[in-house]
Symmetry: C2
Subunit: 101 residues, 2 copies
DNA sequence: TCAATATATAACCATAAGGTTATATGAGGA
DNA sequence: TCCTCATATAACCTTATGGTTATATATTGA
């Protein structure tokens, strides 16, 4: 299963996901948005790939990355369920809200 | 600020939080719930303390742990905001729902 | 074909996480 | 006082993370 805590545990990765939410991007485009090296960005992308949150597609000499919104949604659900499990009664209304979605 | 991803990133810590949600517990009680050593549990408790999610209270030879529900709620909020930021439009309805809480 | 650009990979470094065992300290009860 | 139980701490191990630099490979355009 997707380890959403691992995937979201780093601010760079959260920003990458945000960027991809606005549209697919090549690795170069992603690298340019950060002050870290290309291999460092690649490692973040690899973790997001490992966790299934993004996809990689070869496009000539480029690699194009895209969000897997289905996985993201279910990861999101996991967060809710975990928090609901932790806080129990406190979140009943929220749980109910989500179940209805 | 609370690093909620760090705090929730481990299943043992999530279970500890769940236990504390049912009521305060001593370290011994928490240790007994897991198959790992007392120092290992203590390290998890320390991380939860570092992140401000729980409190520790001396009680004779015992240490009693309790949830900080206020911090937990705001951490929860952070999770939502981060996910909302990532997914944007997709979660508008949920964001709106939470803002109203 | 050759050079430039995009990406991948290897080797390295420092720190953190999650665990262990062994041992020290502290508090309470008999 | 002394033993016992609860907790703390130290030292150690392994693996993961997040970064680096250097270099290899692949693709494309001139």
């Amino acid at each position: 299963m997707t380890d959403i805590y691992r995937a979201l545990g780093d601010a760079t990765r959260r920003t990458i996901l945000h960027q991809l939410a606005q549209g697919d991007k090549t690795q170069t485009e992603i690298v340019q948005a950060f002050a870290i090296s290309q291999p460092a960005v690649k490692k973040h992308l690899q973790i997001l790939l490992d966790e299934g949150l993004i996809h990689e597609q070869k496009d000539g000499k480029y690699r194009r990355y895209s969000l897997d919104r289905t996985i993201l949604r279910s990861a999101y659900q996991t967060l809710f369920e975990d928090m609901g499990y932790i806080l129990e009664d406190q979140l009943t209304s929220l749980q109910t809200y989500l179940k209805g979605k």
